[in-house]
């Protein structure tokens, strides 16, 4: 009989796991809708959004631009070594630009953004909750979703495309710096091949769409994790780690999905 009880327990555990999964998904979806609705209203109070853009955007510019420059350098070098084998060094420009605009720009920016801005959002919200500031706001009939979460969410969505564009532009410049003045690829061919190979709608606009989606993802994960954090120092620490792990994985998985949709069947 023992095995039968154990089997029943296993089935029950599966059922509980499924139920909790459904509950989590449903709650996350409800938060998401509430956050979206509150963000629309947050745009009516641009002061708050601008403050948060300064917090998540301006302070990420340095790391984004330095990373973009180095990613561009590496793309220039590696691309050159591979293309030289086929005698196609002139295609370096299109290689660097397409890799950056389509994939690396949005994805690496989102990963850095999760590490640089997402964590501080989670820690901030988590500490506000630990200090019972959010509860105090609710006591004063101020909706913390509108006053605290929504401006941060809107700022993350607005900042991500700008940061990704900066990353790609600096990266193209980095690739040019390595390819043209350092290695000696022809300047005209570098740019003309790039301009011939990169489409505005197919590549640039799709890259911007990607970065907006990643901004939504990272902002949502960071805020929800902070909101759900156990209000202790340990809980906030764990929530911060969770933000990085979950948003990085979500960004990479979504990137695969978006790439398959945008560039897949052509």
């Amino acid at each position: 009989m023992n095995w039968a009880i154990r089997a029943l327990d296993a089935v029950a555990a599966l059922g509980r796991g499924f139920r909790l999964g459904v509950v989590d998904t449903g709650r996350a979806a409800r938060y998401f809708v509430r956050l979206l609705a509150a963000s629309g209203m947050a745009l009516g109070r641009p002061r708050l959004v601008i403050d948060q853009m300064h917090f998540v955007g301006n302070r990420s510019v340095a790391i984004i631009m330095v990373s973009g420059l180095f990613v561009g350098f590496v793309l220039g070098l590696q691309g050159y070594y591979t293309l030289r084998r086929y005698g196609a060094e002139q295609a370096l420009g299109v290689l660097v630009a397409l890799s950056l605009v389509r994939e690396l720009g949005p994805v690496v920016t989102a990963l850095l953004f999760a590490g640089r801005a997402g964590t501080s959002l989670t820690a901030e919200i988590g500490l506000m909750k630990a200090g019972e500031q959010l509860a105090a706001m609710e006591m004063m009939a101020v909706d913390p979703f509108q006053r605290v979460l929504a401006p941060r969410f809107a700022a993350a969505i607005l900042c991500m495309p700008l940061l990704a564009a900066l990353f790609s532009a600096v990266g193209v410049f980095g690739g040019w710096l390595v390819g043209v003045p350092m290695i000696g690829v022809d300047d005209g061919a570098f740019w003309s091949q790039m301009q011939g190979g990169v489409e505005f709608v197919d590549d640039i606009v799709n890259g911007v769409i990607k970065s907006v989606v990643f901004g939504i993802t990272v902002g949502f994960v960071a805020l929800l994790t902070g909101w759900d954090a156990v209000p202790t120092p340990e809980g906030v620490a764990r929530a911060t780690t969770k933000t990085v792990v979950v948003s990085s994985l979500a960004v990479l998985a979504l990137d695969f999905l978006l790439t398959a949709l945008m560039f897949g069947t052509r």
């Binding site: 601008i50 403050d51 853009m53 300064h54 955007g57 301006n58 510019v61 630009a97 605009v101 900042c159 495309p161 700008l162 940061l163 564009a165 900066l166 790609s168 532009a169 600096v170 193209v172 740019w191 790039m194 301009q195 011939g196 990169v198 489409e199 505005f200 590549d203 640039i204 911007v208």
Partner: protein, 163 residues
């Protein structure tokens, strides 16, 4: 931090991001550079377009004078119909011929226009009569092999030399 400074810094950030976007659009993707605002659409029929793609350049004397607008298939004649957008600044005679060429050995394919000698010019909607299809490497190789096989002495000695 006082309000004005924050506003200024955020403004600077938004400006830098927008400049980066404009740089990507105009310098990297060359938006506007190849867009033919004032285009003349003509049609050309090819037996085989090979690897020609929409937006491939149309060149005359090596200079880009237009873009391939679309490629479709006509099941009446079983030919490919290529719509070409030509820059209106350039005028081509009616008996211009079109060829599908390849830039370099493995490069992308483009259409080369060779102007004829007629006095009247191509107008919107007209069809380029003389066309030459893309060179398909497999056909070329099989033609070469057949012509080799047709030479009996060469084929015979070649076989004999093998152990």
């Amino acid at each position: 931090m006082d309000r004005k400074k924050t506003d200024f810094l955020v403004g600077l950030f938004v400006l830098a991001g927008s400049v980066a976007l404009v740089f990507l659009a105009f310098r990297v993707a060359n938006l506007g550079g190849v867009e033919l605002g004032n285009a003349l659409d003509v049609r050309a029929r090819f037996d085989n377009v090979g690897g020609l793609k929409p937006r491939a350049p149309v060149k005359s004397a090596g200079v880009t004078v237009g873009r391939v607008k679309s490629i479709s298939f006509d099941d009446g004649t079983y030919q490919a119909v290529v719509m070409i957008s030509l820059d209106r600044r350039f005028q081509f005679p009616k008996d211009t011929s079109a060829k599908i060429l390849t830039s370099g050995l493995l490069g992308e394919q483009y259409i080369g226009l060779e102007p004829g000698g007629e006095a009247s010019m191509l107008v919107a909607g007209s069809t380029i009569g003389m066309t030459q299809s893309a060179v398909v490497l497999e056909n070329l190789i099989s033609q070469f092999l057949y012509s080799k096989a047709a030479e009996p002495s060469a084929a015979g000695s070649g076989k004999a030399a093998k152990p």
